[in-house]
Amino acid sequence: MLELKKITKTFPGVKALSEVSVNFIEGEIHAILGENGAGKSTLMKIICGIYQATSGQVVLDGEELHLHNYNDAVKHHISIVNQEINLIPEASIAENICLDKLSRFTKAGFVDWNKVNKTAQKYMDMVGLKINPTIKVRHLSAAHKQQIQIAKALSTEAKVLMLDEPTSSLTQYEADILFDIMRDLKKKGIIMIFVSHKLDEVMEISDKVTVFRDGCLVGTELTKDIDQKKIVRMMIGREFNMDYKGRLDADNHSVAFKAEGISSNVYGFHDLGFEVRKGEILGFYGLVGSGRTELIRTTLGIDPKSAGKTYLNGEEIKLSSFSKALHKYRIGYVTENRKEEGLFLDNSISMNVSMNSLDKFYVSTRIPFILTRREKENSKKYVDELEIKAPKITTKAGSLSGGNQQKVSIAKWLSAQCDVIIFDEPTVGVDIGAKSYIHDLIWNLAKKQQKAVILISSDMNEIIALSRRMLIFKDNKIVAELKGEDFFAQSAKMISEKIGEFFV
């Protein structure tokens, strides 16, 4: 049994955890939940020795642990599987699994690879991985890599196995395989600690749920005794509602942006088109790779298009580069990959927010000299408006939580005062509180400010809640258009059944 007794952790100026006590028992999958910044990762890092608790005790099987680093944790058979894949792509599977103990397989300076492969195979069997251990990791899928990470963690003879959002890069099918492995390991009496944002998963796989909020433990419950709504209430202190938001009534508004005959040789789609009205939220629904993001990127000139016309307020415009789309026509695009494409992680929040609207801070239109005072005021305004939680506007964007990063990414486009805004998966990897906030924000942009909004999402509930007209993408084609205020006023269940028909 792993017991945490009154763990407190303070960082300069912040109390990340206060007096947290919780027990993890063998043969249980114990889920830890909480919004970003609630203290989950701090707790995990304390258990595996990366952080040291300011006060309190970590007790494993009756013995108090004093861990100074991750290696100490491994010695006590505590392992962690990170959300990111930390494997050496150019090394073989076996080499990756046995990397930290290669010395055990070495004779007179030479590695006995047969032995390494055999040992690796043993742990690969435990996670049901039926591949040749000599294959290079580079060639494998994300799911396989995740399985190798678990095998690697198990190879330390782990008693405690922590899984930090292990499914974030997996498909549903792959996640199911992972869950089977977890159930299997549970039978072997391993203590499993599971962190996830996905409530469905937590309900499916875990035995116990512990919820954190603002560094405090809210409660521990048996999974079978609670439901999702209760968990959400515990996490954010109120009920989360992603239901129908109301009517937009934008059918009679003028068309703000129109694209027709868009073709791409790069992505291989032909003659696609769409239009979006002022005050409307147009949904693009489809799976990843179905052509929805690709259509937008091609239309806006981010990726090259082989044919197609675009119109802004009825006038034809040429979108040869995204620079034009933004600066000349005020079309904004909130990317789905905020870390890679949306933010300058090493730069301040302020700089990120102002990035697309620097001309607003010029002394005058004739003197293109940026007044930093105006820039700061502007950034401050959006930070306040979007309730971005950060110590200062000079804080680096990379140090914010996922939800706040997404808000910064959105603030950038709001600051640029775009008339047409495209949101690509705006709530992926964002905690529930921020998700709800972003939904309200998108709704208000259309409803109150009469902006033309396109919402790309693979989360059906999100689209149903916000958009009142949607295009369904499948295999690089638009297979259907669903519209009508009345249609979207039906229950979410009926709508999703209707949509589901197109995917059968």
Binding site: T335, E340, E341, G342, L345, N347, F369, I370, K412
Partner: protein, 327 residues
């Protein structure tokens, strides 16, 4: 009560100071001045300071050339070669063609710009790293410089040389130029859209593209600016040494990186601190000057050079810890 407040505010000032990345360079400079002025009386003489300020100024420009590509995460291995070519072009313009000084300067800078354009254009169009392109081009520029001059020096008119010798009070005209250059850079990166776009491109090229920045154009521009500054450095070097030869710039590449690195300019791009950059040029110059001043055994000089550079950069490692302690 009053005194307590003052004390506190002093602590806060100290903490804020140590939180800045450039503070380590300032501390390093203070350390070096202490070491050298205790070690030798000649270090703080007016003549030496004047000489130092001139050398540091030229190093500032040399490093400026590297900086312009470092901020977009690139590198320019042709800094020295462009310098050499510029010296030769300047020499030809002044000596063989007998052109007036301003026109010779403009021609030289134009050649620098062309070199930079070629570097940038090839980097963008061939989609190769700047490392490879500028390495290859550096041989070409060096080769042209040597081929044209055959290694012979060109004579520089006295009027031109007087620019490099100008004394302004206790300091030199070159130093004032460097000061203006650094301040201009700071304003450029802080207060102009172009400068911001450059930093953004260095910070995250993909995100910059999606912020409507034409990153290819930025890459080319930075290469052009880099080589123009290298040309400028060559012009100043010629005016300082009063001769123009193709051998100028042989060791610039290393120094340009060293100044940037010592000054806390990230070579992966995205940031710029004027003070750090300024200090970087001074630290390197002072170390080289100071070692001669201290009259250390020549055969061990390199070992001392390494040790002092290590000392100077290790201040950076201590900085953050100091900042944390002053709470």
């Amino acid at each position: 009560m009053n005194s307590k407040n003052e004390k506190k505010s002093f602590r806060i000032i100290m903490r804020d100071f140590f939180l800045q990345s450039y503070s380590s360079s300032i501390v390093a400079i203070i350390l070096l001045v202490l070491i050298f002025s205790i070690g030798t009386d000649s270090f703080l003489t007016q003549y030496n300071l004047y000489n130092l300020s001139r050398t540091a100024a030229v190093y500032g420009f040399i490093a400026g050339a590297q900086l312009m590509v470092a901020v977009i995460g690139g590198m320019n291995l042709a800094v020295g070669s462009v310098g050499a070519l510029s010296c030769v072009v300047l020499g030809i313009s002044l000596q063989n063609l007998g052109l007036p000084i301003p026109i010779a300067i403009i021609i030289t800078l134009a050649v620098g710009a062309i070199c930079g354009y070629i570097n940038g254009f090839l980097t963008v169009k061939l989609r190769l790293s700047g490392f490879i392109i500028t390495l290859a081009m550096s041989f070409i520029y060096d080769g042209i410089a040597l081929g044209v001059s055959h290694g012979y020096p060109y004579q520089i008119p006295d009027a031109f040389a007087s620019l490099g010798r100008a004394k302004l009070g206790i300091t030199s005209g070159l130093f004032i130029m460097m000061l203006v250059f650094v301040i201009a850079l700071a304003i450029f990166f802080k207060n102009t859209k172009f400068g911001r776009d450059i930093l953004a491109t260095g910070g995250n090229q993909q995100a910059a593209k999606l912020s409507g920045i034409r990153t290819n154009a930025i890459t080319i521009s930075c290469n052009v600016l880099s080589c123009i500054i290298a040309s400028l450095a060559a012009i100043l070097w010629c005016s300082r040494t009063a001769s123009a030869t193709s051998s100028t710039g042989e060791d610039w590449m290393l120094y340009s990186f060293a100044v940037c690195a010592i000054g806390g300019i990230s070579l992966s791009g995205g940031n710029f601190t004027g003070i750090g950059f300024f200090c970087g040029a001074w630290i390197l110059t002072m170390i080289r000057n100071g070692l001669t001043m201290l009259n250390v055994d020549v055969y061990f000089e390199q070992a001392f050079l390494g040790a002092i550079i290590l000392l100077a950069v290790s201040v950076e490692a201590i900085r953050t810890r100091v900042a944390e302690k002053i709470k």
